[in-house]
Homo-oligomer: 282 residues x 2
């Protein structure tokens, strides 16, 4: 899948270099280039390809998704939020630059995610539909709500359902929207099914995250291992224990497979993506 | 103009209450309700009215403009940026809530500014055009670039042209876009003229800001007076002296009048707005 990652990266850099130069653009480029797995843009691209739709006219949507994701990481890492010094093994944006620049680089990536879609050579009605999906997912009732709930439950005990609700919004919305956008382009009548698959994948992604936090190493993970325990954070592992969390992940894997087989598509491409999520080591 | 302010406020509250509840929504509502003059939404509304266009179908655009403006104030006030405790005479968002919530409330206001336009009952092509104008003005080559340059020149001496460039982007873009959006709806062929008027008004606004910082009182201004001098900031007053800055403002007033009379509109409404900007005391 490296070919698609390269195309997304190239499209991202082309766009970012059209912006006015300076420290904020440098910081945007730094964070966008900081070795992400491009899971979300790939999911969007493989979603389109599984319907035999050419992804190339839609590359800027993949870029917009990655820009929203990167903005959320930059702001999450700020001292006022998670206060993380490392991300993907290198200094976080505010460590490499400064806090003010990191705030502005995050703001700018969210703002330019809108602009990159608005400048596409697409029908206006499709632009509006894609923006409606994407910015509902990232907005105050989506990802930002999840972030708020995550912060709230740092000082409160979360039940398993409350934990699911946090991650449904914080992680799930932005993973589901990749498949929803692909569906909007390729087969709008499948959007609900694709959305369910996306949220199931998002949950699986989060559980794997929690498992890696106790089973991986700082070197492999690119960020401190055991940070959830150190921060006294409620996770699927802390609530269920490692073994049951692993069982839950297996069940979710089966559920995702069923979701995929419920669609009339090239199943292999999305199964590859599912494996990428579940079997990742960092 | 209180009638229009009330309608904008009502529309803003209606929209914000559709979002998922919690601390972030509270902070958004707090900052949006914190006694702003609604200069930008009013400029948009009076722009439409000066072409005899009914503003009511477009109220949500006025709200979106105010949401973008409020987000920028919340993030500007953060400890990492201007570190302001007071705004419009009451605690800034991060003082009233906390820094993390202020970061998220700002993010959410920018994101929801997009969403409120996307949910409007308008032609998709007009939605796209309005979003293109608004989010170009607020983006990495617009307001955010101005913010970056403003920060840079905190530690460097700015010439008069560099100062103009900062404020063209930092203040001008978001004031000009109010008239540009009105033009896009009412008379697209006038957009360039409206844009020039908007940037001239924006510059006048900024010079008046700098003058008020040395001639007003903390009580009237709702924020500490003399803060520019304390922060060793380059302003029109520090570069030109008070008297010449006041002369420059008078010249700009004449320039704006000429801009207004160059348009075939009801001139009185925009002259009222110009007076509101130039003759304001806070």
């Amino acid at each position: 899948m490296n070919q698609y990652i390269n195309e997304v990266n190239e499209c991202l850099m082309d766009y970012l270099h059209t912006l006015k130069p300076g420290k904020v653009r440098e910081a945007m480029i730094y964070s966008v280039s900081a070795g992400g797995k491009r899971l979300r843009p790939l999911l969007f691209i493989q979603g389109l390809r599984s319907y035999s739709v050419d992804y190339r006219p839609y590359l800027k949507i993949a870029c917009a998704i990655e820009m929203v994701h990167t903005y959320s990481l930059i702001h999450d890492d700020l001292p006022a939020m998670d206060d993380d010094d490392l991300r993907r093994g290198i200094p976080t944006c505010h460590k490499q630059f400064d806090e003010a620049t990191a705030v502005l680089a995050g703001d700018a990536l969210l703002n330019e995610a809108m602009n990159i879609i608005l400048t596409m050579d697409l029908d206006d009605s499709l632009k509006v539909k894609i923006c409606q999906l994407l910015f509902k997912a990232s907005g105050a009732s989506g990802m930002i709500y999840g972030q708020q709930q995550d912060m709230y439950y740092e000082n409160h005990n979360a039940s398993i359902n409350e934990l699911k609700d946090i991650h449904h919004h914080k992680t799930g919305c932005m993973i589901a929207v990749c498949l929803e956008c692909a569906g909007m382009i390729a087969c709008p009548t499948d959007i609900d099914k694709l959305s369910k698959l996306g949220f199931d994948m998002g949950l699986a992604f989060q559980i794997q995250d929690d498992i890696l936090d106790v089973t991986s190493s700082t070197e492999v993970l690119g960020k401190p291992v055991g940070s959830d325990i150190d921060n006294n954070k409620t996770t699927y592992v802390s609530l269920l224990g490692l073994e049951k969390a692993q069982d839950y992940l297996k069940d979710l894997y089966e559920e995702c497979l069923q979701d995929i087989y419920a669609l009339s598509i090239n199943h292999g491409l999305l199964i590859d993506m599912l494996n990428k999520i579940i079997k990742r080591v960092s």
